[in-house]
Amino acid sequence: MAKAQKPTSNHGGLLPFYEALQLIRQCEERLGQLFADGEVPGFIHLGIGQEAVSVGVMSVLGTQDTIASTHRGHGHALAKGIPLDGFFAELLARADGVCGGRGGSMHVADMRVGMLGANGIVGAGVPIALGSALAHRNRGTGHIAVSFFGDGALAEGVLHESFNMAALWKLPVLFVCEANGWSEFSPSARQIAFDLEAWSAAYGVPCVGVDGNDVVAVAEAAEKAVALVRGGTGPVLLECRTTRVRGHFEGDAQKYRTADEGDARDPIAIAEARLRAQGIAESELAAIADEVRARIDAAVTKARASGPASFAAARADVYTPLVLGEAC
């Protein structure tokens, strides 16, 4: 194990990005392992290869900006600041999970950090982000909402409805398409007939395309896009071309796919190359990775120590307890 060594500079902001990339990557890898070991129940969809999208976009958001996510939402949640303990405890279905063990991977959410939820329904987060943007505007918060969705989700009707409505009302919403080329087991190109940039432009929503695996490129593009959105001119679409390295979900045998795809574009490798070009020491990189690993270890240990999710607590949360007389 590399010797821990404090970084000497943040390398023009890149080091915090690198750390965030490492955090997501290692969380995903750990979850893959925990899933394989039978410790994580249900379906999990890992975002390995797509980390730079989450990190780059979130780098230009504040805590009170809101995001609505997808079934592949771990990276979004982590980059937005969900606490690691509650995150792992949720994935492990424990009482201390951020959602009390009732939601799991597809429903991680943390309202305190503006993470309005992963979502098991493809496309469903998009109108939620739209509504959140409406709330930002109506309440004058000055914050914006961000809607993440995949390229397969582009086929859902709500995408169209939401683009139309957001454009019409010039809402402060940033649409982020994570174009990983796949919609489950099918290439997205076999499901989406339209050109995204032209389509978006038809609504008057400017489309900014970017290499979604280069965190610096994403952050720069997101900065410009978010500036436009905050400026009040209406929604912007950020198209992040990225790679789904793993199967659609863990356990997917991926018979539909050749093995070598995408490796060359690994977001971590791209960030490391940049850092090396800036002369970072290997030991600094290793130290970051180690420190992240230690945090994850601690979170997993804590999660395992947490009790099982409580049925009584779940049952009590179907409705909001009424303070006597409150509702009238």
């Binding site: 009732r102 429903h107 179907v318």
Partner: protein
């Protein structure tokens, strides 16, 4: 006391709620400029402005989904779905998102959303503009379902629904909008979940909601003339429904009839009957009889629609049947 229409009561409820709480907004198709297809939102645009009274495109799924996000952001959206039949387009947002958010996020949030929508026939509006689909929503944990029967309860329940922290499907009956009732000037806010005993009786209990309440009252009037005393319970809230009030009434009358305009099969009445056939079994002295629409789409022709919609005469017959007097002479 003054005459008050059901539609005007709803309008007043919206205005009062908006005046009290700046986070309440209303949205829907042609609800701002035009004041809504049934006039329920009339005048709100002028009073509260386009920021809070929002005309939307014809995009029901996204209107409902946006209400979820808006509620997460602290607003209290009340949105109109022009006909309940179009609520078919909002089912993901209502059922998978709104109903479950509090539960599946571990109690992190409450979603104070109201979906207002009219159901029911009587306008020859045909099979796609007349359905009563409240039983669907009542089957969904996390949603509440309300259906008022007159002006005062329309006001009180809509205020109660808007004040409620959880998502509410608020069902109005198209045939009631223009009807008026004597109502106090100072209308009360009504909490959800409480039924109203509109008429006391000894011989049979009729449970009903919405427009069917008036069939039940008419039937009770008719039977009173021949000495049969019928208790009429207006459920008001369908989910959660007031089981205690129904059971207490059944324990006095021992006979139960349930009436609604929705299709009888797999309708709201089924749940009430099923509960009473369990927890109320020992009180039952006769079959539980339901009156609802037959198992067919709502037809367009006036005559067909009239034959389709439940009638007071059917309620009378049902009460007789529940009382074991189905072969007695007609009234």
């Amino acid at each position: 006391m003054a005459d008050l229409r059901y539609g005007a009561a709803l309008n007043r409820a919206l205005a009062d709620a908006m005046a009290e709480d700046g986070d309440v907004i209303v949205m829907g198709e042609d609800i701002a400029g035009a004041g809504g297809s049934f006039g329920v939102t009339r005048g709100l645009l002028d009073r509260f402005g386009a920021g809070r009274v929002i005309d939307t495109p014809i995009s029901e799924a996204t209107i409902a989904g946006a209400a979820v996000g808006a509620a997460m952001g602290g607003l209290k959206p009340v949105f109109e779905i022009m006909f309940m039949d179009f609520a078919t387009l909002t089912m993901d947002a209502m059922v998978n998102q709104a109903a479950k958010a509090r539960f599946m996020f571990g109690g992190q949030c409450s979603l104070p959303i109201v979906l207002r929508t009219p159901h029911g026939g009587g306008l020859s509006a045909g099979p796609q503009h007349s359905q009563c689909l409240e039983a669907w929503f009542a089957h969904v944990p996390g949603l509440k379902v309300v259906c008022p029967s007159d002006a005062a309860s329309a006001y009180g329940l809509l205020r109660g629904a808007i004040a409620d922290p959880d998502p509410v499907v608020f069902v109005e009956h198209k045939g009631l909008y223009a009807r008026k009732w004597d109502a106090p000037d100072d209308l009360a806010v009504l909490p959800l979940g409480q039924a109203a005993v509109l008429r006391d009786g000894r011989d049979a209990t009729v449970v009903c909601y919405g427009a069917a309440v008036h069939l039940a009252l008419a039937a009770a009037d008719g039977l009173a003339a021949e000495g049969t005393s019928v208790e009429v319970i207006d459920l008001r809230t369908i989910q959660p429904w007031d089981e205690a009030t129904v059971l207490a009434s059944l324990a006095r009358t021992h006979r139960l009839v349930i009436v609604h305009e929705a299709v009888e099969a797999f309708g709201v009445g089924a749940e009430i009957a099923a509960r009473m056939a369990d927890v109320g079994f020992d009180e039952l002295d006769g079959p539980i009889v339901r009156v609802g629409a037959p198992f067919m789409p709502v037809p367009f022709a006036k005559g067909l629609e009239a034959a389709y919609q439940p009638s007071a005469a059917q309620v009378v017959a049902a009460i007789r049947k529940a009382m074991g007097r189905e072969f007695s002479q007609e009234a």
